[in-house]
């Protein structure tokens, strides 16, 4: 990872990667969603609403992955003072917050016809809502720290402490069995029938590519802004 500590080296890889991730992400997501709407059968219990899974589950994964990215960037910043770590943390936050919000909203829409309620203070739903608020806090804190010219160490600490919520979200369905269903996909296999599972895997890859493209674009924007600010400062002192 330290090979990419040089912003010029990072940009050399990030520029073509952004375009490829966007292209592949758009193609896979479109294919998965159209397939999920037209090719897969309805579920015998949930009916057509099972198709919400193709947007809800990737959004949940990416909502959590975004904070895992913030936590990794925080470690990199606090331990190695990686020059791109604070930028990466700030780039992960809006993408993660967007997908956490999508997860909450689509989950609520899915809950109405299947559970009979839009919202329940269930362990999984509540911990996901906390994650969304953590994102808002991180965005505000990292933005304020950047404005004051700080290194982003307070935001990094917040990012690390907030990571405690990730295992809580993951295990919430085991610790508090209420409305949300248990784990359907694990490393050992899946309880979902393969006829409706495959578009989910394609959709997860597609949305992940789009998420990565959004993060890279935010990082490139921050690096360009930093370059402009440095040049203007230099010009002012000359």
């Amino acid at each position: 990872m330290h090979r990419f500590a040089n912003p010029a080296r990072f940009l050399k890889i990030a520029r073509p990667a952004t375009a490829w991730l966007l292209l592949v992400g758009l193609a896979l997501t479109a294919f998965a969603l159209v397939s999920g709407l037209t090719l897969t059968p309805a579920d015998y219990l949930q009916g057509e609403t099972v198709r919400i899974m193709y947007v809800h589950v990737p959004a949940a994964w990416l909502g959590m992955a975004g904070w895992a990215g913030i936590a990794a960037a925080s470690v990199s910043q606090l331990v190695w003072r990686h020059p791109l770590a604070a930028i990466a943390g700030r780039a992960f936050a809006p993408a993660g917050a967007t997908f956490a919000a999508v997860c909450l909203l689509t989950g609520s829409i899915w809950g109405r016809p299947t559970w009979g309620t839009w919202w329940e203070w269930d362990g999984r739903l509540t911990s996901m809502l906390i994650l969304f608020f953590l994102y808002l806090g991180y965005i505000a804190l990292a933005g304020a720290e950047k404005e004051r010219g700080g290194e982003g160490r307070i935001a990094a600490l917040f990012g690390l402490i907030g990571a405690i919520n990730l295992p809580i979200i993951h295990y919430s369905v085991l610790w508090w069995r209420t409305l949300h269903q248990g784990q359907s996909i694990s490393l050992s296999g899946s309880t979902i029938d393969s006829s409706i599972l495959w578009p989910l895997l394609v959709s997860a890859i597609g949305f992940t590519c789009l998420f990565a493209a959004a993060v890279l674009m935010r990082m490139r924007a921050e690096l360009a802004q930093a370059k402009v600010e440095a040049r203007l400062r230099r010009a002012a002192t000359e």
Binding site: T49, I109, F207, M217
Partner: protein, 42 residues
């Protein structure tokens, strides 16, 4: 309400949010890189 109403609403939210995120990231990147290039040319 029909199941398809819920499915359509969920897909619309997911696509609008993802599209919005990508559009915002793209425009802010183009704007910032454009400003950096402009300054470099001067």
């Amino acid at each position: 309400m029909s199941h398809w109403t819920f499915v359509t609403a969920a897909y619309a939210i997911a696509l609008l949010a993802t599209g919005g995120l990508l559009l915002w990231s793209w425009t802010s990147m183009r704007k910032a890189e454009g400003a950096a290039d402009e300054l470099k040319r001067r």
